[in-house]
Assembly symmetry: C2
Homo-oligomer: 199 residues x 2
């Protein structure tokens, strides 16, 4: 009897070993340079063994991203137990989400498909900041009466950009389950309205 179980256990061990090693490689060198051969080297098996456990490389990355979602979920569950008041809880969730992203950037990138080769803009090229400067001008025009500090204005600019970019990313990557593009647009309109009202 034990013999079959042992085999299954070994098979599962191999699978989790592959995932663990893959995740370590991702953390060390980024997901862009993860390769099947590197994984094979690390687990000290030949390449085809990996294909006994995963259909392809994408499946491995997918599984890792799922681990990310599960980890995030556990953290959010903790918030839930800790905070009964919905407002406090919402704030905690935001904090948790933020911290999760920056403590586990590899996970976050895998989960939401971030990071292409070619996009490490920084401040070098002015083109990259064109949109920010346009909305900056408009926002400064709106708030020029109620004398808000320079920092506050700067924050508002980024906040505005964030809503737009965030929503677009979510919709574009099909993370939203709203199919109707009219609806998605309404979410944006609402957000923009709320934002402007609060300026």
């Amino acid at each position: 009897m034990g013999i079959l179980e042992r085999k299954i256990r070994q098979k599962e061990n191999m699978r989790t070993k592959i995932l663990a090693v893959a995740m370590q490689l991702v953390k060390e060198e980024g997901w862009q340079s993860l390769s099947i051969r590197k994984i094979a080297d690390a687990i000290e098996y030949s390449v085809p063994v990996i294909y006994d456990h995963f259909e392809n490389k994408e499946a491995i990355l997918f599984e890792l991203s799922m681990d990310g979602f599960r980890l995030l979920d556990r953290l959010l569950e903790k918030d839930k137990r800790k905070y009964a008041d919905p407002e406090e809880r919402l704030r905690a969730h935001a904090e948790t989400y933020w911290n999760f992203a920056f403590k586990n950037p590899e996970y976050y990138q895998l989960m939401y498909g971030l990071g292409m080769p070619c996009s490490s803009p920084g401040k070098a090229k002015p083109e990259f900041n064109s949109f920010r400067e346009h909305i900056a001008e408009a926002i400064e025009g709106i708030v020029k009466d109620n004398k808000s500090s320079e920092d506050e204005t700067c924050f508002k600019i980024y906040a505005f950009w964030s809503v737009l970019h965030g929503l677009i990313s979510i919709v574009m990557m099909r993370c939203s389950d709203i199919d109707d593009s009219q609806m998605n647009k309404k979410v944006m309109d609402d957000s923009v309205n709320a934002f402007i009202k609060n300026l």
Copy 2:
């Protein structure tokens, strides 16, 4: 005299031809499957010719993304000429940005590094919606008194998620020129506060 000019002109023509062909391939098959050899085939030259005009593949993608920024900039300039009132202009900018993203998804993806192999989640896996459901619960808890419609609540959930995800993406991809992570966090806190106040 003309002979040198012609050569420069030919060289520039080749360069723009490469970019045009590359962009067409990206539109047809996505940037993930763009290859130097496909470009070479399309322009009917051999592979190394491309390296006379671009240092590497990344440089081509980078240049394409710059085209995207320039195109967006032109559209925003149009808004600027059309709307003198800053509030109207800000709304127009938001609309323009949104439309640009969905009319030119390839550009948007290149510009902001979106779209990894492995992230086409959809609704299949419940893990992907874990965060949305957690914040949904909290938000519903907050708004349960002021009887807002189901749609409105749904919008608010996505709006909240968008601010967080948008800001994280922008910071993570170094699109922001704020270096201080404390400051970035303050942008988030401000946004969260404004959002909750408006619920």
